[in-house]
């Protein structure tokens, strides 16, 4: 993978937002003193008059965004996922989702890939928290290009949206020409031996796993879930049926409350399901060098490949 260009989804969404802001003057970008980390510094540089610094105050970050939306603008509020979705939760619930305001929240540094910072900063709960909220749409692009495309989709969608993005620079597996829409799953690879349903960086890692499996004679279907809520169960069910009920869900999040449970819930009543899950197994993250940490937590294409291969034989 040495010659492959790697970029992070956190930068994709902000590059997309800067381009959109040139056309849409109602876009306001807010951050809570993490602009250089979340990547919103590019927006700050391009449109300083439309960049609102909330300070180290994530509750107020969300409240200010709600007020800015009520004043007729379209705010994008940014912080690390753990602070935006965690500390901001009840403000998101009562000030954004309850009145169904057009507020966009981007939580970066999701999952355990922000390796050095350790467990306090590695958010494995945001999917569960955000998908539990009525009115909320939950997005999870798999790579830089998709995050860039989804900045526009998020702007065009009217209503509360949460997007989780990643700190980690990863290979780009999708195209800026892709026709994607919120709530529609994207089939990245066609196969019929095992169905891999993956989101975020796991979908990117799964692309490499699937290509290696193909060389070994196992043809996996890869369903990329860039929209966790509303979840495209029709597409997932069709792919899972095609693969004889064998489904492997992969997410860089805790095993509880995330995509795995959402897919399993959606498959209740479907006969012959053989389910497996690559996720964080109900423990917090910790500091480590990126490679060794991902290995420790199974956030690797090799782990996805091993689970898929085993499932394909069942």
């Amino acid at each position: 993978m040495a010659d492959i260009v790697k970029k992070a989804t956190r930068h994709g969404v902000n590059e997309g937002l800067v381009e959109l802001a040139a056309v849409h003057e109602d876009i306001i970008c807010l951050d809570a003193d993490l602009g250089n980390a979340t990547g919103t510094s590019v927006f700050h540089k391009a449109y300083p008059e439309r960049y609102i610094e909330a300070g180290i105050a994530e509750q107020d970050l969300i409240g200010l965004a709600a007020g800015i939306a009520r004043a007729g603008l379209v705010p994008f509020a940014n912080s690390f996922a753990v602070f935006a979705a965690g500390r901001g939760f009840e403000i998101i619930r009562n000030a954004v989702c309850y009145p169904n305001l057009n507020v966009k929240i981007v939580g970066s540094h999701c999952g355990i890939t922000p390796a050095g910072d350790g467990g306090t900063h590695q958010c494995i709960e945001d999917i569960a928290i955000m998908r539990s909220l009525p009115n909320m749409t939950v997005l999870s692009p798999c790579d830089f290009n998709q995050a860039k495309l989804m900045a526009r989709l998020m702007y065009e969608h009217v209503g509360p949206c949460f997007m989780r993005t990643s700190r980690e620079a990863m290979p780009i597996v999708t195209s800026l020409e892709d026709k994607i829409e919120i709530g529609k799953a994207q089939i990245l690879r066609r196969g019929s031996d095992v169905c891999i349903v993956a989101t975020g960086v796991m979908a990117t890692l799964a692309v490499f796993a699937v290509d290696e499996l193909a060389a070994e004679g196992i043809n996996a279907e890869l369903v990329n879930i860039h929209t966790i809520k509303p979840l495209d169960m029709d597409a997932i069910k069709a792919s899972v049926r095609k693969c004889g009920g064998r489904v492997l869900v992969c997410e860089e999040a805790n095993m509880y409350g995330g995509l795995g449970e959402a897919v399993a819930y959606g498959l209740v009543g479907t006969d012959g399901i053989k389910f497996d899950h690559v996720a964080v197994m109900d423990r917090f993250g910790q500091s480590g060098l990126s490679g060794e940490l991902l290995e420790e937590y199974g956030i690797t294409s090799a782990n996805i490949k091993a689970h898929a291969a085993a499932l394909a034989k069942k």
């Binding site: 909330a54 200010l64 007020g67 800015i68 009520r70 007729g72 009145p99």
Partner: protein
């Protein structure tokens, strides 16, 4: 409206608020009655209102202490934003007058509130949004004195001063009581005037039941600063047995108590 007319309006609104809470069988009379005069002053003598509640030109009101909403509902009905008959369906299924204000269900409610501390943050964002859009709208908010124990209030106050939001006026309804006792017993607020000044506000302290003082304070404030009006009020104001009584934060009067309240509020 002159002072006499405002006082008469406030009497009617208080009476309606107590009637609504009694009929609903639950609600928050104490804080409703302490904040009534401020709301009456804003809606009848200060705010730019338009009959279309979605008219962008209107000034905005945020009742951050959202539990004190019955007088606000009575005002919105009096102004014609909601049908008067809805007042008898406070807190009832499929009706717009929710237990805490819901902008998605009730026309004229500028901000859903109820979770303490959030309203002031949203009000600050609204004032900031109008500044960003270079619009002249004013934003008025009422926070409870107990409410500002919530940390988010101070985050918002800091932001309001940082962004020089002189289009934002924050009333602190200082009735001195909260659910578990006096504010001094529960979590003392200390020198609020000095605190708000230190946070960058232009600060006034007034009698929150004196319309001359409320309206005069609304004419003050300073360019480049958000305005805080600390209003000393009486929880349960106007109903003899509710005044300054901790127990009347969150319960409805029974039939006998309602009769007494009607006599106190001088219903014609």
């Amino acid at each position: 409206m002159d002072k006499k007319q405002l006082e008469e309006k406030a009497r009617q609104i208080r009476l309606e608020a107590v009637e609504m809470i009694a009929k609903a069988g639950s609600g928050h009379p104490g804080g409703s009655l302490s904040a009534t005069d401020i709301m009456v002053a804003l809606y009848y003598s200060k705010m730019a209102l338009y009959m279309d509640p979605n008219d962008e030109r209107r000034d905005r009101f945020v009742l951050s202490k959202g539990h004190s909403n019955p007088p606000l509902y009575a005002i919105l009905a009096d102004k014609g934003y909601i049908p008067k008959e809805e007042l008898q369906y406070l807190r009832r299924l499929h009706h717009p007058l929710q237990g805490h204000p819901d902008s998605a269900k009730c026309p004229g409610i500028d901000c859903s509130t109820g979770s303490l501390g959030q309203g002031i943050s949203v009000a600050t964002g609204m004032a900031l949004g109008f500044k960003l859009r270079k619009m002249p709208n004013k934003v008025y908010a009422i926070v409870g004195d107990g409410e500002i124990q919530e940390g988010i209030c101070w985050e918002s106050f800091m932001a309001a001063a940082h962004y020089k939001l002189d289009n934002l006026t924050v009333f602190i309804d200082r009735n001195g009581l909260q659910i578990d006792g006096t504010t001094d017993e529960v979590m003392s607020l200390g020198d609020l005037n000095a605190k708000m000044k230190a946070f960058g506000f232009a600060v006034d302290e007034i009698d929150g039941h004196d319309f001359d003082q409320i309206l005069a304070a609304l004419e003050r404030g300073e360019a480049g600063k958000p305005h805080c009006i600390i209003a000393d009020t009486v929880k349960g104001k106007g109903v003899s047995f509710m005044e300054n009584a901790v127990g009347w934060h969150g319960k409805a009067p029974n039939a006998e108590q309602l009769e007494q309240a009607r006599r106190d509020l001088g219903g014609k």
